[in-house]
Symmetry: C2
Subunit: 395 residues, 2 copies
Amino acid sequence: MFNEKLTESLGKSSMIRAMFEEGARLKKIYGEENVYDYSLGNPEVEPPAGVIESLKKYVNSDEPGLHKYMNNAGYPDVRRKVAAYLQKKSGVALDENNIIMVCGAAAGLNVALRAVLNPGEEVMVLAPFFVEYGTYIEQSGGKPVIVNTVKDSFQIDIEAVERAITKKTKALIINSPNNPTGVIYSRESLERLKNVLEMKEKELGINIFVISDEPYVSLVYDGAEVPNLLSIFDKCISVNSFSKSLALPGERIGYIALSSRIPGAETLFSIMVTLNRTLGFVNAPSLFQKVIADNLETAVDVESYKKKRDLLYNHLTRIGFRCVKPQGAFYLFVKAPIEDDVAFCAAAAKYNLLIVPGTGFYGPGYVRIAYCVDMGMIERSLHAFTKLAKEYGLC
Amino acid sequence: MFNEKLTESLGKSSMIRAMFEEGARLKKIYGEENVYDYSLGNPEVEPPAGVIESLKKYVNSDEPGLHKYMNNAGYPDVRRKVAAYLQKKSGVALDENNIIMVCGAAAGLNVALRAVLNPGEEVMVLAPFFVEYGTYIEQSGGKPVIVNTVKDSFQIDIEAVERAITKKTKALIINSPNNPTGVIYSRESLERLKNVLEMKEKELGINIFVISDEPYVSLVYDGAEVPNLLSIFDKCISVNSFSKSLALPGERIGYIALSSRIPGAETLFSIMVTLNRTLGFVNAPSLFQKVIADNLETAVDVESYKKKRDLLYNHLTRIGFRCVKPQGAFYLFVKAPIEDDVAFCAAAAKYNLLIVPGTGFYGPGYVRIAYCVDMGMIERSLHAFTKLAKEYGLC
C-alpha cells in the first residue's frame, strides 16, 4: 500500500533509536536521574552568548523582510561572509558563488551527492561512519562502498582506499573529527590520500570528489590540528552545519562550500542551487542565516566538553576499557570486552547505561558513548561503568 | 562530470527564473520604481503581529532547550495543537501521531510522495499546476500524469480524471486554492471526484491517495468556502505550510497531516518520520515550530490582498482582458490575447510588466500575475497594462 522497501525496512529500526526507546522504558522505572543516557548526539549545552545576542538583535529589530524568500542559495551577504571566512581558513579563493546555505549537514550531503552522482556510481565511506551516509548515497542513485580504517587507530587505510577505487568511483566522504570515533585524520594520511586519488583519477580517467562532512570541525581538544580539506583536495565539497559548533541542531542551518578549483564549479553551483529547491529544502531558514553569519568565529565552550571527555576517558581506561583518546567531537568509541557489541550494550543496560553498538556504525566490536551530556550525569554514571567492567573481569 | 541529467536540464531554466533575470536587467535600466514585477509568489506583507509577538516571547525568554533536536516528527505538544486544530476543522479524529512537522510544503510533498510511491507508479496532477510537482514525483520514483481541468473555469474535469486512472495510479495532487489560477475547487466537484476515485479503486484493486497541497487555504475572498479535503477523502494526506498564511516563506515551516482513516496510518506515519530524517530535513526548524503552534488561528491580512485583487482584476477586465475571478491565493491567470503566451509575456516586458507564461504551469495561452506585491506598484502599473491592451486592440 505504501512504498514497499521502506515498509519492510521499518522492522529493522536503527540501533540508536532502539536504545532511545530502552532509555525511555528504564527512566520510567528508575527515574530520570538514575539512567545514564549516552545514546544521542544531542548537545546538552546552550548556544554561545553571541548567538543568542544576534538572535535577539534581529528579532527585536522589527526590521522588515526577515522571514521572506531569498535566492535559493541563501542571502548573498551571508554567503559572502561564509566565503571570506573559509577563504581565510583554507587559502582557496572563494566568493558567494561557492557557497550555498542549506538546512543542516544532512541536507547539504543529500544535495551534494545528488549533484555529482549518476545512477550506479560509487561513493566510498570510511568505516566506522555515521550510518545514514549509506541511505543518502542510495537515495541519490549511487552505491556505497565501505572501506575500513586502520584497526584500533581508525586512521585512513590508504591502501584499502586505493583497492576500493573502480571506474565507477565518483566520491569519497570524509568526516573528521569523526562520528563515532572522535579521531581526526592526520595531515600526513590526507596528503597520501590526495596522491592516491589523483593517481587513480588519471589511471582510470575518472573524477573523484572529496565530500567533507565537517560538523565537528570546531570541537577539537588539546590544540589538535584539523587539516582543512579545501586546502588539500582540489575537488573538495565541504559541508558544514552549526548544529554542534553553535549548539543549534533543531534549527537546521549549515552550508555547502564548493572549491573554486573544481573544473566547472559554476555549473556545479547551479545544479546544487536547483537541487536545494527541488529536493524540497527551498532555502536555509532565513532568520538563522543572518544569526550564524554574525558568529562564524564563535563556538560553544570546548573546555566544558574537554572536561567531560577527560573525566570519562580517564575513568574508563583506568578500570580496564580500551579506547582511542578522541581529539575532537563528543564521542568515545570503546572496544567491547567481548566480540558481540550488541550483547555488551544489553549488559550495560542492566546498569542503566545506555550506549550504542558499534555495529550500527559499521564498527563491530566497539560501542559509542556520546558524552555531550550533563557533567552530573557523567559523575553519577562512573560507578555503573565500574560495575560493568567488573562483570567482564577488567578490574 | 556531474549528474548528467541535471547538467543538461540547466539550459532549460524555469520561465519564472527567466522573468526574474529579465526583471533585474530592466530595473537596472529604468529604476526599481518603474518596473512592475508580478513574477514571484514572494509575499510582500510582513507576518501578523501575533507571530512576531510569539517569536519575541520565545527568543527573549532565555528558556533553555529552544534550539535542540526533538523527535524527527516535531515537538509532541506542537503536533497535538496542530492535530486539535485540524480535527476541529475537518471532523476527522487526529492526534499527534497523525502530524509531522516539516520544513515547508515542498519538503512535505517530497516526504509524502516518497512514502507512498513504488517505482513507476503514477501520480495525477491537475493542469495548470505548480510545475515542480513533476520534479517531486520523478525524484520519488513516480511518473506524473497530467490531467487538464475544465477550459476557462479551471474546475476539475471529473471525466478526464476517470480516464487517466490506470492500474498504476497511486495518488492525485490537489492544490486548492490553486496556484496559478486562484480557483477553489467546488465541493460538488470534489464529492463527484471522491465517488470516481472510490469506484476506480474497487474496479482496479488499487489505492489512490489524495495529496492536498494547501498553502493558500487561509487566503480566501468574499467568504468563499474551501472544502476540507481531510473530511471528504478517506485516504487524504494534507500538506500545509505557513509561508503564505503567516508570511514566513523564508523560515521553512509546515506540516503533514495524515488522515486517521488511512488503513495502516501508523505505518505510514513511521515511514514519513524516517523519510523526514533520511531525505535530509531531519526536523522542522525548532523555534518556528513553537511560534506557529501559538498562531494556528491567525492569518495575514486577507483584506489587503483582496483590495489588490479587486483593483487589478477590475482594471484588467475593464480594458478587455479575460480572467476567472480568483477566489483565493494571490494570482490572476489571465487569457493571453494571442495563442503564444511566451510571446505575449515578451510584449508585456516592453512596458516593464513582468508576468509569467502559463506554459510554465502547463496552462498555455494564459499568463500568471502574482499580485502579492506593494499596492503602489499595482497602481503605478495600471497604465502599462492599458498600453499592452491597446497594442492588442482590446480597448
